[in-house]
């Protein structure tokens, strides 16, 4: 249909500014049934809406297999930690006669009836100790990250919101902290505390992560301060306090939350490393993966390498879980991936 034969009446003379189709006549050429269909199609493309950025990111997260794997590992790990007493077949501290009786300098009993993974170097049930170890790992990892996050966010927000010399001083301090290797700093801190305990480990790992959070938040705050929507809020006449609390901080925190997830895996490894080096909790009864690896794993590696393999595997898998989830989160909140 190249000729508009359907047009009613003679063609109107062309007037400047007069456009075809702006007169109602054309629209009537669309039948009612088709009109309804058009609206239906329009509605389908409009979508439901009201989806906040967070929910949008969550939706993308759920579609990412890496996120699913990471979240599953973490969920299992947390469940195991919470229900350890129900899951573990034995008391992790108890030494069993049937195991100790077989212990020798060159023999640590492997799996036997009732002890699926066999014994550890003192005749305790290895599986139960691994299960209980998740509690310690979760506790230390989460607490260290949270403390680091809290202090880091506070310092970063102050530096980012105030700028000037406050910012300068805080950032120079974090520069110094960042210049030291994390583990070395943690060892120094543990050494400074006269007696090592799980709290020195937590504090050491937390402090190591403070500058990372502080710098990250400060950087995002500065970027937010220059952003158009903060300028827009200023133009509206929004109070400075409200701009910082409602615009800058929440937007800047997104990156920090992602970092916190990634930091959890680092914190778990760092805490395990400290325990491995014997700088952790001196209580040998308390099951801890890093300590299990360091104490028995290394000493009896020739006799029974599983003593090293199992805790090492546990640390790696849990750290991997947090890394996978963190990376997937980073990807999900990236505006470039928004469709």
């Amino acid at each position: 249909m190249t000729e508009p034969t359907t047009q009613a009446g003679p063609p109107a003379p062309r007037r400047k500014g007069e456009r075809p189709g702006r007169t109602g006549g054309n629209v009537n050429r669309l039948g009612d049934r088709k009109k309804a269909r058009l609206e239906e199609l329009a509605q389908a493309s409009a979508g439901k809406g009201g989806v906040s950025l967070f929910r949008d990111a969550m939706r993308r997260l759920r579609r990412n297999p890496a996120a699913i794997v990471g979240a599953t590992i973490i969920a299992l790990f947390v469940l195991v930690a919470i229900f350890a007493p129900l899951i573990a077949p034995h008391d992790p501290v108890q030494r069993f006669d049937e195991l100790t009786s077989k212990l020798a300098a060159d023999n640590i009993p492997g799996p036997t009836a009732g002890f699926p993974l066999g014994s550890d170097e003192l005749g305790r049930d290895l599986l139960s100790r691994l299960i209980y170890g998740s509690r310690q790992t979760l506790f230390v990892g989460v607490l260290a990250t949270l403390i680091g996050l809290a202090i880091g966010v506070l310092l970063g927000a102050i530096a980012g919101a105030f700028g000037g010399w406050v910012d300068n001083i805080l950032m120079r301090v974090t520069d110094v902290m960042l210049a030291l290797p994390a583990l070395l700093l943690a060892i120094t801190l543990v050494a400074l505390a006269s007696r090592s305990s799980q709290w020195t480990v937590i504090l050491a790992v937390a402090i190591v992560n403070v500058p990372i959070f502080a710098r990250l938040l400060r950087g995002s705050m500065l970027a937010q301060r220059e952003s158009d929507h903060v300028l827009a809020a200023r133009a509206l006449g929004v109070k400075q306090r409200s701009i910082v609390l409602r615009h800058m901080l929440p937007n800047a925190m997104t990156a920090v939350i992602v970092q916190a997830t990634l930091t959890l895996s680092v914190a778990i490894i760092e805490a395990a490393s400290l325990s491995f080096l014997g700088l952790g909790d001196p209580d040998r009864d308390r099951a801890e993966w890093g300590a299990m690896l360091g104490d028995a794993g290394v000493r009896y590696f020739e006799v029974r390498p599983e003593l090293a393999y199992y805790p090492a595997l546990a640390i790696i898998v849990v750290a991997l879980g947090f890394t996978l989830l963190g990376e997937a989160m980073r990807e999900a909140i990236d505006p470039k991936n928004r469709r």
């Binding site: 075809p20 702006r22 050429r29």
Partner: protein, 328 residues
């Protein structure tokens, strides 16, 4: 034989866990030697994806490219990766929108031009640099001797775009693809670059595909114009015919919605209602139907075909703007 014959080119983006999206939908057009062809449309119409597909620059993963791109009779889509790389730069040059990100920031301008000559024409470095100097001079870069040694960040946006044109033209390609080459530039610089392109096309006889959203740019430059909407060509016409008598309601609306420098002031602009978000899939009818004032029943009964017009163009519309009223 046409220099470039694009036949039924389609690009489908297939992202994991998402609906496949047809960015380019059976686009066909030809470019004759020495001709300037415009691909015009708004964001998301598929104009840039078309050019990337022609150049074989789309990432292999997540895209399905089909159809034929015949350059001198040979299908570029069937070429091996190495052969295609040889073709790029030698037979087909490309200019991008953002000259800063298209140039390597750590290599001097002169060397970047010379490297193309070394690679495709087998020149030695000394000879290549001498030719690079001539090229910079030809694209209107003042004091080319000094510019040879400078880095991209040391020169202005307009000069960078000139340098990029020099690189694209280094091997005297028979086809040049310019993707929004002036969009990032100021008006006075845009005028310089457009004049330069026109002059180079005249002098070297290279064919040019001009990709732009700006109808003004097309008006002064292109022999034939393809208007794209929703991944399909909706209207194709020679320059004068298209602007004198836009037949597709979209083309017509586009021309009437831009304020013109020479229009009567204060006149209300005739906006096209809605946005590309209101498109319906081509499978359901004409993608433009929800925004179209000329919509009729047939528009919702499957995609209208691209049919030749009396004036030698092509048109994809069931109820085009009548010739009497089409004059803007």
């Amino acid at each position: 034989m046409s220099l470039l014959d694009v036949r039924d080119l389609s690009v489908v983006f297939q992202r994991r866990g998402e609906q496949p999206f047809t960015a380019v939908d059976k686009v066909s057009f030809t470019v004759e030697p020495g001709q300037t062809v415009g691909l015009v449309g708004e964001s998301g119409c598929g104009k840039s994806v078309t050019s990337l597909a022609i150049m074989g620059l789309l990432p292999k993963r997540g895209n399905k490219v089909s159809g034929e791109v015949l350059f001198d009779g040979a299908d570029l889509l069937k070429l091996r990766r190495d052969d295609m790389r040889d073709r790029r730069g030698r037979d087909i040059g490309m200019i991008f929108q953002d000259p800063l990100s298209s140039l390597n920031p750590v290599i001097p301008i002169g060397v970047q031009v010379a490297e193309v000559l070394e690679r495709h024409q087998g020149r030695d470095r000394k000879q290549a640099l001498r030719e690079a100097r001539e090229l910079l001079d030809a694209v209107g870069i003042p004091d080319p001797d000094r510019r040879l040694k400078e880095y991209p960040h040391q020169i202005s946006g307009g000069m960078r775009q000139r340098a990029l044109i020099a690189i694209a033209l280094a091997c005297k390609p028979r086809l040049l693809i310019a993707d929004e080459p002036t969009t990032a530039l100021d008006v006075t610089i845009q005028a310089q670059i457009l004049t330069l392109l026109k002059q180079l096309v005249d002098e070297t006889g290279t064919a040019l595909i001009m990709i732009t959203h700006d109808l003004g740019v097309v008006a002064g430059l292109c022999d034939t114009v393809n208007v794209l909407y929703g991944g399909k060509v909706v209207e194709r016409a020679r320059r004068h015919e298209l602007f004198a008598q836009p037949r597709h309601p979209y083309t017509h609306g586009l021309l009437n919605s831009v304020p013109r420098l020479d229009s009567i002031r204060g006149e209300r602009l005739h906006a096209i209602r809605g946005s590309v978000a209101d498109n319906i899939p081509w499978g359901e009818g004409c993608a433009f139907a929800p925004r179209c004032d000329n919509v009729v029943d047939a528009c919702l009964e499957g995609p209208p075909p691209l049919e030749p017009t009396a004036t030698g163009g092509d048109l994809r519309c069931n109820n085009p703007v009548s010739e009497e009223v089409a004059v803007p």
